[in-house]
């Protein structure tokens, strides 16, 4: 079973660098290049592990960081510019716009407090004969394209507040708990991964429900839960 975990989504290499710098609370004017380079590369590794798309821009930045790091190791000549200067300037420029983007986001929210109304429909008066409505030449893909261009143009996404569809619960937390408890009684220990794999069709709901069941059991029954590493199997053992 393949896991796809959402790491933080970064807008680009600058965005990622900022995240690392802010996390470390270091001055942007004096970036410890070798430390940051290491963390940057670690991060790219993690992205690769989770099958995230690493674009060429991220690789280019890695190369730039390594180059700067190499320069920093060389003896400093007089009047020589700090090898980090260009990167810092770019970062500062990027940050300026990133901050403004956040402020605009607030403006965007603010402007949603005003309601306007749709245009009047004078051109299409009610006495137009319905017969004129000719849909014969239009196929479903044209219909699709019309819809797509409409929602793109209007920049609008309707969120149906009252969900109209209600799905029946296929497995309840109670059922999953009963199943896990039964196994615990028989074997003394249960692997969550194996329990999930027993299901012929593994769905997200099934995994989540089982996980909730484990949490629920740990709350009420005498069990211990083990996990060796992040993302590794979860073992449940009776006390």
């Amino acid at each position: 079973m393949e896991y796809s975990v959402n790491l933080c989504v970064f807008q680009g290499p600058f965005d990622l660098l900022f995240h690392l710098i802010e996390k470390k609370e270091i001055s942007i004017y004096d970036i410890p290049i070798s430390e940051i380079t290491e963390q940057y590369l670690d991060y790219l590794d993690q992205m690769r592990q989770f099958n995230m798309n690493i674009t060429s821009e991220f690789i280019l930045m890695a190369a730039t960081l390594i180059e700067i790091k190499a320069h920093m190791l060389l003896p400093v000549k007089e009047n020589q510019e700090d090898p980090r200067a260009e990167l810092v300037n770019k970062l500062l420029e990027y940050k300026m716009f990133k901050d403004v983007a956040e402020q605009l986001k607030q403006y965007e929210n603010e402007s949603s407090f005003y309601f306007s109304k749709p245009k009047e429909e004078i051109a299409i008066t009610s006495d137009v004969k319905v017969e004129q409505l000719s849909l014969n030449e239009i196929n479903i893909y044209e219909l699709y394209n019309i819809y797509l261009s409409l929602i793109k143009k209007q920049n609008i996404k309707i969120e149906h507040e009252n969900s109209y569809k209600i799905y029946k619960e296929t497995f309840s937390v109670k059922e999953c708990m009963d199943n896990l408890m039964k196994k615990l009684k028989e074997h003394g220990r249960v692997s969550l991964f194996n329990t999930i794999k027993e299901q012929t069709k593994i769905t997200k709901e099934f995994v989540i429900t089982n996980f909730l069941a484990v949490l629920e059991i740990s709350n009420t029954q005498g069990i211990r839960i083990f996990q060796n590493d992040t993302y590794s199997d979860i073992l449940i053992i009776t006390m």
Partner: protein, 178 residues
């Protein structure tokens, strides 16, 4: 809240709603007796009518009220709306139909939000053609009608079921683009 503020709110509500709005709806939202709302609406209606500085009036249809433009300004409005390219009826209908197909069940207000124009007449036309139908009402203020496509719609486009509509790009695809 004083009566002046209430009148302002009622005007906002009529404006945003667009269609005739029932007094009981207004009464529920403002938590004020319908009879008091009627008094306010009648005062507003009269003052709108008499004030030449106003271009709007409040029209009464039974127990419902609607904000519309004054009759004497019709010629100007017509020349404004006609300077713009008039969409043919069928393209208006196609737009509306595509939204109903993908968003169903959907209310008129939601369709108008996407199209940016009023859709009452187009919707009526599509119902007459049996391409869409009313499938219920939402239990919320205004009790808006929900519309969905019909079997005739499927037949017209040669689809076995609504699931066969061309798949929309997912949010993620869009994200990469926009």
């Amino acid at each position: 809240m004083n009566n002046k503020n209430l009148k302002g709110i009622i005007e906002s509500l009529l404006f945003a709603w667009g269609e005739p709005l029932n007094i009981n709806e207004i009464s529920k939202i403002l938590n004020i007796k319908a009879s008091e709302i009627t008094v306010l609406l009648n005062q507003m209606s009269e003052s709108f009518e008499q004030d030449t500085e106003r271009g709007l009036i409040i029209q009464k249809f039974g127990n419902s009220y609607q904000l519309t433009t004054k009759k004497e300004n019709f010629d100007f409005i017509q020349s404004l709306l006609q300077t713009q390219v008039n969409k043919s009826l069928s393209s208006a209908a196609m737009e509306t139909l595509s939204i109903i197909a993908y968003e169903q069940p959907v209310t008129k207000v939601e369709i108008e939000l996407i199209r940016g124009v009023k859709c009452s007449n187009v919707i009526k036309g599509l119902i007459d053609k049996n391409l869409i139908k009313e499938v219920g009402k939402i239990d919320k203020p205004g009790r808006p009608t929900l519309y969905a496509t019909t079997d005739e719609f499927l037949k017209h486009f040669g689809l076995k079921s609504i699931d066969e509509l061309p798949a929309l790009k997912t949010e993620k695809d869009e994200e990469n683009e926009a």
